[in-house]
């Protein structure tokens, strides 16, 4: 069986790794015909205040968006969301069927094991770089 997720090796460089821990970050490996994929991860908030992820950016694709799924009229609707909140002293899972970072119009098909650099920006202006 093929492994469909690129397992992550994570180097959270960053100015504020202490506020948010990122675990199990991965990008879904899709057939070479697919020009769009999604990144998933668990964001842990180590502070006692809510933190909001407001932007994601990656060079591997033309557009990077924060998304969620909504079930309406028996259909799953995938929509862009302005932010993803990580509760105080809690965690937010970006996972299939839920919140995810959408990588739209990949410039090149991703390869198994490839590290994809994603820049995350938070509401308070802090930034983070991850390499799932």
């Amino acid at each position: 069986m093929k492994t469909l997720t690129v397992l992550a090796l994570l180097f959270s460089t960053g100015t504020f790794a202490a506020d948010v821990n990122i675990k199990n970050a991965r990008v879904r490996l899709l057939p070479p015909t697919s020009t769009t994929t999604a990144a998933f991860m668990t964001l842990e908030n180590t502070t006692n205040k809510e933190i909001k992820l407001v932007k994601a950016h990656s060079e591997v694709c033309q557009t990077t968006e924060l998304h969620n799924h909504f079930k309406v009229d028996g259909m799953m609707k995938m929509r862009e969301v302005p932010s993803i909140s990580i509760p105080a002293n809690g965690k937010r899972m970006l996972k299939p069927g839920s919140f995810h970072i959408m990588l739209i119009n990949l410039k090149k098909p991703l390869k198994l094991g490839q590290k994809v650099k994603i820049n995350l920006s938070f509401e308070d202006g802090k930034k983070m770089e991850i390499y799932p």
Binding site: T33, S34, T36, M75, M76, R79, P96, G97, H100
Partner: protein, 202 residues
């Protein structure tokens, strides 16, 4: 005497009126039936596929799993297809011959058979991809109660996603719809379900 007659007429009038009302009320309520009951969902269809024309009629004796989606989908479709690949890998060679997974694209604009072939093969060589004209797909999806619609986000050119139902449909060896598989159903449960239908005498 006249008064009595009048009263009888009035009573008869009320009875007629009540009957009409209750009948229309019954008629109004009658079409509301449970979704996905085996009698109402399903039916044979034929579609151009990645392995020649796929005709459900020719699959009698096999359990068929239908899933409607699109290859651009970054989430439900690949999750479902990779789950099905896992389920398929749990079958013996003989069992595999009795089951067919088919991915039907509702994104008739972007998904052509050539693309679908590469897409389904990525998950499992046994899978079939199928699509057709918008009208033809509308007809087939209607039979199975599948909903879908394009969504164009504001301010983005040449970009759309497709909202769609995410359940799959099990068609038994007799060609009749049996039950649905929810997108997040446990693979062991799906395997067990399908195995029961495979072993069913047709």
């Amino acid at each position: 005497m006249d008064l009595k007659k009048y009263k009888y007429n009035q009573l008869a009038g009320w009875i007629v009126l009540l009957s009409i009302l209750s009948y229309s009320f019954y008629k109004m309520r009658a079409p509301v039936r449970q979704k996905h009951s085996p009698q109402e969902v399903g039916g044979d269809f034929s579609l151009p596929s990645t392995k020649g024309t796929f005709n459900l009629k020719n699959e009698r004796g096999k359990v068929v799993v239908l899933y409607f989606g699109y290859t651009f989908c970054p989430d439900y479709c690949p999750t479902t297809l990779s789950n099905f690949a896992r389920v398929n890998s749990m079958f013996t060679v003989e069992e595999k011959e009795k089951v067919q997974f088919i991915f039907i694209s509702v994104d008739t604009e972007r998904d052509k058979l050539e693309k679908l072939a590469k897409y389904v093969k990525f998950f499992d060589n046994d899978f079939i991809g199928a699509t057709s004209t918008p009208e033809h797909i509308a007809e087939v999806t209607k039979m199975y109660g599948v909903k879908y619609q394009k969504f164009y986000p504001k301010g983005k050119e040449n970009f759309y996603s497709v909202d769609h139902s995410t359940q799959s449909f099990i068609v038994g060896k007799d060609g009749l719809f049996k039950e649905i598989i929810l997108h997040d159903e446990d693979v062991n449960k799906t395997h067990k379900k399908l195995l029961n239908y495979i072993k069913e005498k047709s």
